[in-house]
Assembly symmetry: C2
């Protein structure tokens, strides 16, 4: 496997120079970019492309293809130069780098079919690579290899060490990390400079196989890749390199990061001129089909009866277990709280598709990201508050156009005694502000089960918020709930006010409506379970009918349900009178009912708000 | 230093049992809490309190006090039991644990004067402790020690490894981490169980001194603390312990996490009954004053002339350098991008108050959090997009009631070619949804300088967004800009529409207003530089005068400037017609002008929106 015949006669050093030249050329054409960060890794990647990568360039969907992730996404000129050498793109397209409309963006994205995930926020490619390697080992069960090119600067990111720990623990021998130790970060020297032993000691302590090499010695690089292929552990190739290698005007100098070379023509001359070496990439040796865990069947959801009292987190867990039985692509990932989120039910039912990621939320979400890139349908669950830890990974996942299902439990002050550190109070805002996202917040068990199922085939980043405490079942088990819809739970021709609620506050709104009815005030109640996309038409109808809307949410006032309602009326049309109830003060410990009362989001507060609007 | 006279006759094992009993008692009284996670660390903390902690309990503000951070904040019953033993709180108060209104919350917060920062989201206490140790070494220059109690589960968090790297690199010998290896996480066994060598190998690789001990052997614990005091490196005491130690019904058993013991009376009996041991804590040996870097002086800000074109990031850097000269408490922290954020100007001017945290945004913000707990005034700067990496730290900082100044550069599509991975497009939403936060977005250099200065004495979490590209100077250098205010830049008695903008879009709004004026349409333009708190009165006046508001922001549509404006009209009052312009599609690479045009937030889009509202 280590040596292939296709390129045995190729001068790899020459290919490395071509990659440098092309990185220099496309950055010069763009007037920006990171040629020097590309030049340091050129020999590492030339050797990989010619001798060790197994990839059918004509069929990027081939399940047996290796995966190559540029964790140092700013080295995109090098990646695109590789694509050109492999015959995937033309030289003409290479020179569209960073131009408006080009798919060769400043940092790689899956607009290019050979890119699995977007990179450019450092420290993310490796944890995603861990997810792909997990998929290869435990899900696809195919012998593909995952190659991750990292910079030395990004080894400061904690997410990298979550990944080293996870991969080392699972002995992921299908994962190879190449660390391009070029000594220079953006601002100046890195912490450890060329001390490759410092990195080897750290990474080795996490049970990886480590190899220290000169990253410009193509023979040593070739041998390192062969050694990695033989290792029974994940391998880190820690390569001492020179930033800007090959051009004296920039080589190993500070202040040359992220800009074109000072003299392009001179640099190309020094690098030996423009070349047009084409490298046939070795195709995968296997053409096996990915493993399947069964056949797709209709989902048989657990059902709940009116009068039952069931937490939506419990309904989530049970629904996911049922979904897993019907849909063999469904995977569950936990941040060491499956007993609390109730993903444990999935773990019990489908242990071979359950992944414990421990308390490492960045690796947790990144692993799911890697798995969805291979076509699996991952659900991730932890406390809503702790998903904030992975916010940058989620942000980047949206740039990847990834399909992710994130489930946050223990939302809001309603959790009670544990206090604010455990309360998700910014989750709706954070996930609404993710491009193309869906944000759902069910109020009862049947609705939660239906929405968990609906998410399986819904594209993009989806977030579902669950409630810790038991709540009454409101809906029958055969009701259908679609994304971007809502339910009107109370309405009459005489409604004076609309109350828009979701999740825990739906129950408070219903109680308030009952109390108000006794006082002669008719309130319409909308269960706005789809916080994004929100059901604009139902809200517009309610606004037209009642003229007043009270919104009520167990969340900070900013960016949540209330803002989602206000947004409906931000297209230049007349707006109803809106009164927003949300959590304003910092909670402490208290019972759930005390918390709801103190926050001013319980039935009493809602009724008071309605009366205020009606009696003005 | 290791042995003190005050408690030489004390039976520490007895004190350990008292701590266990009190943890059991207060959790039983509350009906919730984490007694078993407290019991594992009781002997570790008993020994610390009696023999090694230097603290004036009566004067928590004493600068020479040691600092004790429970990174495993759920062990709050143990912390509160320690406070009782130290005479800081009464037994009566201990039993208010988790009750409404009690300052003894489910997880510790600085409502208690002996608590520096809130914990409860795991993996944060150590990076904050690194910040405090940096403050002790480089800022205060006092010999206090920082003690951090960690759980074994939280060693999976990447933030811990950012902290190990940072502390090891700086050889912070004033930092001691005690790892309570009780083998059991919330859901079940941890990855490494009782393999303390696995932890020692990893932590040691990051250049820490490590000591493995039996965490219930008080003699071994005592010796480990003494050894740590002699170490010239940060020390990790890795202690094998038993979760629920001392009570057979729960000891070393799964399923006993986070709940009161099954039989309180029996447990107390087994632990030897209720005790009332009081431990005089050894006061600090030094009463020296913290180091000062100079005298407070009036700030002499750089000034910019109308007609100049200056990036607000540049103005930020220059202003911070000037502020640092006037205010000796000001500190700068960088995530290895100071050349881009322009914090480099501060680094050059005040190298002894500049901290390079490399690409480790959690440690970056946590270090600032630790420093502000010691009274320093830290400013943190990195790309806006990468601050999302620290969102959970910021969330917790708000619970701490901390004062933090976060500066995010490279905001929005206006950065141009680098593409979406580098664009802060959710930062306004994320930081608006932080309790008590301030969110500022200046549009010119003089305004940026004034706001940087204003933040120095403003309490709470502040976020300031800067722009990458040069923009024209609009304001004179002597104008004052206060938080929660705004500027009306164009207005007349005939205004038909108001355009609310901030930062980069102010310039587009002004151009649109000029173009509209030529078309006979009068538009009021408001520079809404204080996105939170927003200037509600000016917006209400504009709404009353014009009836129409166009909002325009270089940000996703959710949670930013537009929502801040809508929020003003969410108190039940009549609302103007609002039309919100924001970034809807996923950007690629393009020039700044192409990006603004494609996103529909440039002057042309604004003018079209105004015409739409006027001509309906």
């Amino acid at each position: 496997m280590s040596e292939t015949n296709l390129n045995s006669g190729l001068n790899i050093a020459e290919l490395g120079q071509q990659l440098r030249v092309d990185a220099v050329r496309c950055s010069a054409e763009a007037g920006s970019g990171h040629p020097t960060s590309s030049m340091s890794a050129a020999d590492l990647m030339a050797t990989l492309l010619a001798r060790h990568l197994h990839y059918d360039v004509a069929d990027p969907e081939e399940p047996n293809n290796d995966h190559l992730i540029f964790s140092k996404g700013h080295a995109s000129p090098l990646l695109y130069a590789l694509y050109k050498a492999a015959g995937a793109i033309t030289d003409e397209e290479l020179l569209t780098f960073r131009a408006f409309g080009s798919r060769l963006e400043g940092h790689p994205t899956p607009r290019l079919p050979w890119v699995d995930v977007a990179t450019g926020s450092l420290g993310q490619g490796l944890p995603v690579g861990v997810g792909m390697a997990l998929a290869g080992r435990y899900l696809d069960r195919l012998p593909y290899r995952v190659w991750v090119l990292c910079g030395d600067s990004e080894l400061a990111e904690g997410s990298m060490w979550e990944a080293f720990e996870h991969a080392g623990y699972h002995r992921l021998d299908n994962l190879v990390t190449v660390v391009d130790v070029n000594r220079l970060g953006q601002r100046g020297a890195t912490r450890h400079g060329w001390d490759t032993a410092a990195y080897a000691r750290r990474i080795g302590a996490f049970d990886w196989h480590t190899i220290e090499i000169d990253g410009h010695d193509t023979e040593a690089i070739d041998q390192a890749y062969s050694e990695a292929a033989r290792s029974e552990r994940p391998t880190a190739i820690i390569a001492r390199t020179v930033k800007g290698a090959g051009v004296a005007a920039v080589a190993d100098q500070e202040g040359k990061h992220g800009k074109p070379l000072p003299d392009t023509d001179e640099a190309i001359d020094e690098l030996g001129g423009v070349r047009d070496i084409r490298v046939p990439v070795t195709p995968p040796g296997s053409r096996a089909a990915p493993h399947a865990f069964g056949e797709v069947e209709p989902v048989k959801l657990p059902t709940y009866e009116a009068g039952d009292s069931v937490a939506t987190r419990t309904a989530f867990g049970a629904a996911l277990a049922a979904l897993g039985s019907a849909r063999p692509e469904v995977v569950g990932l936990d941040g060491e709280v499956a007993d609390s989120t109730r993903m444990q039910k999935f773990a019990d039912a489908h242990p071979d598709r359950f992944f414990e990621c421990y308390i490492a939320e960045q690796q947790l979400v990144a692993a799911a990201l890697g798995m969805q890139a291979r076509g699996w349908i991952p659900y991730v669950a932890t406390f809503a508050a702790f998903l904030t830890r992975a916010y940058d990974i989620v942000r980047m996942a949206a740039i990847s156009g990834a399909d992710l299902r994130l489930v946050g439990s223990h939302a809001g002050v309603a959790i009670g005694q544990d206090g604010p550190s455990q309360m998700g109070l910014e989750d709706l805002a954070a996930f609404r502000a993710v491009h193309g996202s869906v944000v759902l917040y069910p109020c009862d068990a049947n609705q939660a089960a239906a929405l968990v199922t609906a998410l399986a085939d819904y594209p993009g980043i989806a977030y579902l918020r669950t409630t810790r405490g038991d709540t009454p079942v409101l809906y029958s088990a055969d009701e259908e709930f679609s994304i971007a819809s809502s339910r009107v739970l109370r309405s009459s021709a005489d409604d004076q006010v609309t109350v828009a609620a979701a999740g825990i506050t739906v129950h408070e709104a219903l109680q308030a409506a009952d109390e108000l009815a006794q006082q002669g005030v008719r309130a319409r109640v909308i269960d706005l379970y789809s916080v994004k996309p929100v059901d604009a038409q139902t809200l517009r109808d309610a606004a037209a009918a009642t003229g007043n809307i009270v919104t009520v949410e167990d969340h900070w006032p900013e960016g949540g349900l209330g803002d989602a309602v206000l947004d409906v009326f931000s297209h230049g049309d007349p707006s109803p009178h809106v009164l927003k109830l949300a959590v304003h003060g910092m909670p402490g410990s208290a019972t759930p009912a005390e918390q709801m009362r103190a926050a001013g989001i319980d039935h009493t507060a809602i009724a008071e708000a309605v009366q205020y609007l009606v009696n003005r």
